[in-house]
Structure formats: structure tokens, C-alpha cells
């Protein structure tokens, strides 16, 4: 069978074990849980300050009803950022390149925010379909557009994360292949390409963190509208 560049994203199976299961299960061994000690070590202090700071900043614009979601959002953030960053190591598989995982996270969480809004304050939630100050003639068009934009949200959420990570990994693969091929032929060009690869890897580290953050931030915004 001919290999294409997309084959790196096929869910890998080794000796009958789907490796995606290990890729989802094992990263949490890298994040220790604090014990009942007064003083912990640096890693735990770093984790604690990240979790505390992130939760505070995310929950600040939410009404008190939305504060119940703090644990879910922080868990989601830690989940995504760890999985994304670990996928940048060589020979690892990134589960978040799988559309199934991202849509599986995005659709239920988005739907939860919509249902909460529709049940607790239906008038307020439906009011989002018509921005303030629209001219009367545009009202039907705008309601249709806002409905479409509401339903596209979960798709966008899932596909954004998938596409960003897939594209990043694909680029790394392509440029690494180019460097590898060019090295015996034109070493100076290969060195330039290698520098490009280094910069791209730094970009991908940033993208991994930013995309995890954007996912959770958008969910918190959708919650903000509805709670």
C-alpha cells in the first residue's frame, strides 16, 4: 500500500494494543498529585500556581452559576495542553489530531451550555439570535445567520483543534523530510531548512498551548452567554 503523509494520523495499533489508549492514559503519570504535605516540590508548586491562576482568570467573567464549571474547565485545559505538548515529542502519537476526540469533547460541552441557557433563561438565550440595533429589514436574515453561527460553534471548536494540530504535525513531517533529503545533496540548504524546522517546532509548542487555551476559553464564553 502506498504511504501518504497522512498515514501518521491513522490511529496506531501495536501488538493489538491501540496506542491511542496509552497516549490518553499515560500522560497523567507525569503530573503528580500533591499529598497531605505542607511543603511540596517545585513541580507541584508550578502545577498548583498554574491551576489556581488559570481557574481564577477563566472564572472571573462568569456569573456565580457558572462557577460550578470551574473544575471541568480546568481539567479540560490540563487534559488538552498535556496531550498537545506531549505529541510534539518524536515518535509520540497525538490523540487530539483525531477528529473523533475533539468533536467528542466539543459537541457535548457546547450542547450543555446551550441546554443550560434554554432551560434556565430561555428568553435571554433566544435573544442572542438578534444583536442589538439591527435595522428592521435585516432582522430575518440576521436571525438565520445567527442560528447558523450557533450550530457551527461545536464544529468549529472541534475542527479548529484538529486542524491546527494536524497541520502542525504535517508541516514538521514535510520539512524534516526535506532536510533529510537535502542533506547529502546541498548541505547548506539543508542547514537552512533545519533552522526552519527548529523555528517551526517552537511555533508548534506555542500553537499546542494556545489551541488548548482557545478551546477552553471559547467554551467558557459560550457558558457566559447562557448561564
Amino acid at each position: 500500500m502506498t504511504l501518504s503523509l497522512f498515514n501518521q494520523f491513522a490511529s496506531p495499533v501495536l501488538l493489538g494494543i491501540p496506542l491511542i489508549a496509552l497516549a490518553i492514559l499515560l500522560p497523567w503519570t507525569l503530573l503528580p498529585s500533591p499529598a497531605n504535605r505542607w511543603l511540596t516540590n517545585r513541580l507541584l508548586s508550578l502545577q498548583g500556581s498554574f491551576i489556581g491562576g488559570f481557574t481564577k482568570q477563566l472564572v472571573l467573567p462568569l456569573n456565580p452559576g457558572g462557577h460550578k464549571w470551574a473544575l471541568l474547565f480546568t481539567s479540560l485545559m490540563v487534559y488538552l495542553i498535556t496531550i498537545n505538548l506531549l505529541g510534539l515529542l518524536p515518535y509520540t502519537f497525538t490523540p487530539t489530531t483525531q477528529l473523533s476526540l475533539n468533536m467528542g469533547l466539543a459537541i457535548p460541552l457546547w450542547l450543555a451550555t446551550v441546554i443550560i441557557g434554554m432551560r434556565n433563561q430561555p428568553t435571554h438565550s433566544l435573544a442572542h439570535f438578534l444583536p442589538e440595533g439591527t435595522p428592521t429589514l435585516l432582522i430575518p436574515v440576521l436571525v438565520i445567520i445567527e442560528t447558523i453561527s450557533l450550530f457551527i460553534r461545536p464544529l468549529a471548536l472541534g475542527v479548529r483543534l484538529t486542524a491546527n494540530l494536524t497541520a502542525g504535525h504535517l508541516l514538521i513531517h514535510l520539512i524534516a523530510m526535506a532536510t533529510n533529503v537535502l542533506f547529502p545533496l546541498m548541505p547548506s540548504v539543508a542547514i537552512l531548512t533545519g533552522t526552519l524546522l527548529l523555528l517551526l517546532t517552537l511555533l508548534e509548542i506555542a500553537v499546542a498551548m494556545i489551541q488548548a487555551y482557545v478551546f477552553v476559553l471559547l467554551l467558557s464564553l459560550y457558558l457566559q452567554e447562557n448561564v
Binding site: F6, N7, F9, A10, S11, P18, I20, A21, I24, L25, W28, L31, S33, P34, L44, Q47, G48, I51, G52, K56, L71, L72, T74, S75, L76, V78, Y79, P95, T97, Q98, L99, S100, L101, G104, L105, T162, T166
Partner: protein, 55 residues
Amino acid sequence: MPQLNPAPWFLILVFSWLVFLTILPPKILNHTFPNEPTPNSSKKPLTNPWNWPWL
């Protein structure tokens, strides 16, 4: 595109949610913080200027 292969979709969905709901929240909850959040007070704190003692 292999991500569009629907075969492992359900298992990936179930497994990822399982790990997300069972392993992560206890790990996050174990990080406790010793102080309650304090509200912003309107009075500015009294501070005397100080310099590093060894300079």
C-alpha cells in the same frame, strides 16, 4: 484522511471521556490552596520604602 475513518470513533470517544472524567478531576482537586480569596479593599496599604539590606 485517516481521521475520517469511522471505525475507532466510538471507542476513542468513550475512552477519552472516561479518562477525562475519572482521572483528571481528582488530580486537579488535590491541589488545595491554604487561603480564602480576599476581596479588594479600598484602602491602600501603608508601606514604608525599603531597600535591599546588603546594598
